[in-house]
Symmetry: C2
Subunit: 409 residues, 2 copies
Amino acid sequence: MLIVQKYGGTSVANTERIKAVARRVVRTADEGHRVVVVVSAMAGETDNLIRLAHEVSPNPGEREMDLLLSSGERVTTALTAMAVQALGKKAIALTGRQMGIITEPVHTKARIERIEADRAKRALDEGYIVVVAGFQGITESDEVTTLGRGGSDLTAVAIAAALKADLCEIYTDVDGVYTTDPNIVPEARKLDKISYEEMLELASLGAKVLQTRSVEFAMKYNVPVVVRSSFNDNPGTLVTKEDKEMEKVVVSGVAYDKNQSKITIKAVPDRPGIAARLFKAIADANIVVDMIVQNVSSDGRATDISFTVAKTDSNKALSITEAIARELGASGVDLREDIAKVSIVGVGMRTHSGVAAKMFETLARHGINIMAISTSEIKVSCLIEAKYTELAVRVLHDAFELAKAEGEK
Amino acid sequence: MLIVQKYGGTSVANTERIKAVARRVVRTADEGHRVVVVVSAMAGETDNLIRLAHEVSPNPGEREMDLLLSSGERVTTALTAMAVQALGKKAIALTGRQMGIITEPVHTKARIERIEADRAKRALDEGYIVVVAGFQGITESDEVTTLGRGGSDLTAVAIAAALKADLCEIYTDVDGVYTTDPNIVPEARKLDKISYEEMLELASLGAKVLQTRSVEFAMKYNVPVVVRSSFNDNPGTLVTKEDKEMEKVVVSGVAYDKNQSKITIKAVPDRPGIAARLFKAIADANIVVDMIVQNVSSDGRATDISFTVAKTDSNKALSITEAIARELGASGVDLREDIAKVSIVGVGMRTHSGVAAKMFETLARHGINIMAISTSEIKVSCLIEAKYTELAVRVLHDAFELAKAEGEK
């Protein structure tokens, strides 16, 4: 098999751990597999570099920021290749450029356009273990780019797709994907298998195991991904195409997200085009809106519009909304940061009814008020007061019997 | 003017110092000059990376070592460009590759083959301050290389030559080139001007201000180099072509080198080809021999051969010499590490006689025994016991009246 293994920052946090990574890589090669290894920067290093940048400039240029940040993966790539060589195997370290990772000409969050993997293929054919710097690429015009937070996952999945790898293993500091956050629900169960679609909902909802874009990429190119721990030999969670077996599971997991804010524009005169005007301005500022609720007032002449954005965007979104509120003659704008989104996810919802109702009923039974609801085919999300987050996660996990494996229910 | 400024590791040791560098760069630009800035890695960073490499591998691969080490300059280059931008100037950071520094395909100590400076020229024409990563280059086949210790000096001088710069300023933590080590002789005087040839002798003799290869390069392409401190505004020392004025100065400086060992092969039968056999074997091991002395024994049938090598090479040189001693039937091999080389340097020696005699006499008067002598047109070196080094430097500095400027003598 051709296996791509990605090791995150905690897995290469120091030279002892890098040597442990090398041993695992060599073990995989000794089992007869060809191996490509993708590494992140040492845990903390990227934050350290960002801190240095802010010490020299209040507003560091993005082009130079990419050059700066790309150095972190360069270090771990070289060290990991050296550690593999020290175990007697042929290994070659490749930067994003040497791996042929061509991105669009955008800094700090570039998308991969294509991978020119000839050099890596040649090295694999010559018996090398190929160690690649995650998170980075290069544009057609020779500029260094980075792929944004969690970008090393994307590097690994994209390389797996380009090389038609049999498996992409994402090594991290957790054993896999859980039915919910084990810090909140100790009985949370590790899933053996999950569909791309579910993983996508869980990832974008705040289960930080796999970067969202990398799951989309894996789904698009049908790359089987295993999420597992680099600190033990547990089998991890396979993220793959939806199959019959998965459809039997109504709810696979409960996710939560405390990183959102709710903005409400109050008593806007209810005319056509109001919402369009508002959300176009927000979108133009590159702010992603998640949930939207519109309540028409009792007399039908004015309306409240609420929406949620990432907390990091809330000040920017607030000032845009305030400007538009003045323009439209709304009575005011309100920002709430003490909110959270709780979601249940499962491909089985497509064929099972009554799931949303059970969720609402469970929250209501515990006195948790729902401020907004959004749904997709495989997900139901409720906006609640932040202080109820843990309670909501626990009671939902319990209501859908997630601690039990399918056979036990 | 077009000025290349190189800042060493202590000048960019932290973000405060990088901001000070940025202010100096901007001041130079504000004086109407076009500026290219070459930076080293932060002081200590290269050693830190080497330590990490040795933690993961007893014998790290050179290709991966170059990839690893090149990250250090990448960081300071990006930070320096950001700091210049923060002062309101256009600045662009270029890696060795982006600067077009093409080297031979040799790792850890590559020679620069040529510089494809089109991109840098374009940036300068567009009004950018160009910040370049020192110490690194790239081969024709896209491999990252480094230029060896002190390689950032070479980067700066080579860029100055390629861009036909008017001046190359090497900023370091000392004020310039002194008549000798001020730690040994407090009255040591800073030289205003020194010839390339003298600088070369001083540098290779252990005055660590400028890397030897960069002086050779500057001499070859006639690049005027100024060595000065980044911590004050003192004018520094100009390293330039020899001129009439310099020839008046008989001795410009006294240098010493404690990093050599002396190996003696004793009572070798005195046959033709013995020395050739020995020194070919040493050269084949890539060991540079400095001084050589051969004493024919009184009966004329056996000879002692002594030579000096860098201390780092002494074990390797010793075992080669021992093998050859057995082969040739010599009586034994002796290693002495408690030796030092003291030298006087000056272009004026070419036209003045009696300089060497005065040196020998001065050392003799202070009871310092000379073990070996080597001379060039502009230098006389004596091998002495290491414990006399400071004394020898002081008495020679005094004998040649180096504390006084030329006019005062």
